[in-house]
């Protein structure tokens, strides 16, 4: 280290690290010369935990991998087990899964939007996004019994059906939400302070996103239209996306996948805001279907006696922070032999050294915030 280089430590207990992340920075004046993320402060042994629990006992725990989008983790795990044990999932269950997951994505993006702007010093949007997120969380509480740790999916179905009353409430929420999103955009999108701090800052190139396996909105902000919900992909790398495309009933639904061009912080913001609108569109389609169709929800299989035949399966889900994959290997007994998780945030943290090199120190949190990293998901 030369004389005028300063080594400083950010975190692990830092309000803007969205959990406990430690960044070791080397500064030259205000310019970041190197950055080394130190992860692992939130490690809970999620993967090892599966090995001495039955399939059902592990199910409530997976919600805690990413506590802001528990439904996605739950679905990734359920989907893997269902495929291994060849359990059918009824159409209605699938629609409810899509509905709950899209609401979950919306709530997750809302929280991101509020905290991202808080990182940059804007306080009002935080209250507005939390107000709207609260509506979703109360709806989830009504449906599942808890606000974040849902434990609502079971193997082959759901715990219980949604009521028409609940669907009406979701419908009301979907009706008022576009106006709220317009409010956020009025406050944020053209704000000169926001644009100067985000436009052309923290630019992720197409190449480096692919090299670092970045997925989700961070990837789509660079202009690559890869989304596991969509069965028709526009990507060169075919074997990379060999299975799991267009899962559940997504191929039957009408939605587009928003992308942007440059891959800077502003584009990541834009993609996420557009994605919120897509969520609303999907939610209203699901409500329409669910209101006009009935079906069986509760799976006839005995959940707590479930034995899964030998085999392995990877299920991929497009979670709010990138592709969430769950690998389950079974040895034929009642406990999984091995469970492995791949979560989007982990890769977003790995690219930080490259992304932060030669940027200004005050931009650090603006760039880090725009990646939408959540630390429990990184450490598992």
């Amino acid at each position: 280290m030369t004389k005028n280089r300063l080594k400083i430590n950010i975190g692990p207990q830092h309000p803007s690290t969205h959990g406990v992340l430690r960044l070791v920075l080397e500064l030259e004046g205000e310019i970041i010369k190197s950055c080394e993320p130190v992860i692992g402060y939130l490690h809970r042994g999620m993967e090892k935990m599966a090995e001495n629990r039955t399939y059902l006992q592990y199910l409530p725990i997976v919600d805690r991998i990413d506590y802001l989008s528990g439904f996605f983790n739950s679905f990734a795990y359920c989907n893997a087990v269902e495929n291994l044990a060849q359990i059918e999932v009824s159409k209605r269950s699938q629609y409810i899964r899509v509905l709950t997951m899209e609401m979950n994505r919306l709530s997750s993006h809302l929280l991101w939007l509020g905290t991202f702007l808080l990182d940059m010093g804007a306080t009002s949007p935080l209250f507005y996004t939390f107000r709207d997120r609260e509506v979703i969380l109360s709806l989830f509480e009504e449906l599942t019994g808890q606000r974040l740790m849902y434990n609502y999916y079971t193997f082959g179905g759901l715990r219980h059906d949604v009521s028409d009353d609940w669907l009406d409430k979701v419908g009301d929420f979907v009706k008022i939400m576009p106006k709220k999103i317009q409010d956020y955009e009025d406050i944020i999108t053209n704000n000169p302070i926001f644009t100067t701090r985000t436009k052309n800052i923290g630019v992720l190139s197409k190449n480096s996103t692919l090299q670092y396996s970045i997925t989700g909105p961070n990837l789509r902000a660079t202009g690559i239209r890869v989304d596991y919900r969509n069965s028709k992909q526009e990507t060169g790398n075919k074997e990379h996306n060999s299975h799991g495309l267009g899962y559940l009933v997504y191929p039957e639904l009408d939605f587009e996948i928003p992308t942007a061009k440059t891959g800077d912080s502003f584009d990541r913001y834009k993609v996420r805001v557009e994605e919120m609108k897509v969520c609303l569109k999907l939610i209203s389609q699901c409500i329409d279907w669910l209101k006009s169709n009935t079906g069986e929800i509760i799976s006839p299989i005995k959940q707590h006696l479930l034995k899964v035949p030998e085999g392995e399966f990877i299920s991929n889900v497009e979670a709010p922070r990138g592709v969430c994959s769950c690998y389950v290997k079974s040895d034929g007994s009642g406990n999984p032999y091995r469970v492995k998780w791949r979560t989007g945030s982990f890769y977003a943290v790995q690219i930080l050294p490259k992304l932060l090199e030669n940027t200004f120190y005050p931009d650090l949190m603006a760039i880090f915030g725009s990646l939408d990293v959540i630390l429990p998901e990184v450490d598992r």
Partner: protein, 157 residues
Amino acid sequence: MMKKSLKPFRDIIALALGHLTVFKHVFKRPVTLEYPEKKLPLNDNFRGEHALVVDNEGKLLCTACGTCQRVCPSFETIEIEKEKNESGKFYPKNYTIDLNKCIFCGNCVQYCPFGAIIMTKEYELADEKKSALKLDINTLKKNYSDSIIKKTVKSKR
């Protein structure tokens, strides 16, 4: 590309629009609640403190079958002491739930074959002693009668 000379004006308009949107909220009703004084109503599905169902004759529905232990993701949270009564049926002599370990997942309630355990709407569980969170059979019974009085019992699906 936007003309350079126009940029300040656009910025001012954008800022004004933003401030106007924020200002609109001044006249709206507050969405927050002064928590300890006022509380949000909870719905019937809420997963709070446990209770053991007691029937009209004052007997527990639980047969000490142990399913709840087997589905619980957290080990040694539920402990059951099983005993036979005169008519040869099993009943729990003692039944403890350790809320220190419980993650409130609701598996025990969902998979109990007799509907013998429920979750009430009680969620303010902070206490000075850890041992206060170890609910024994009497507390669990009392929780049930309390929840009926307060009408906070979870409806059966």
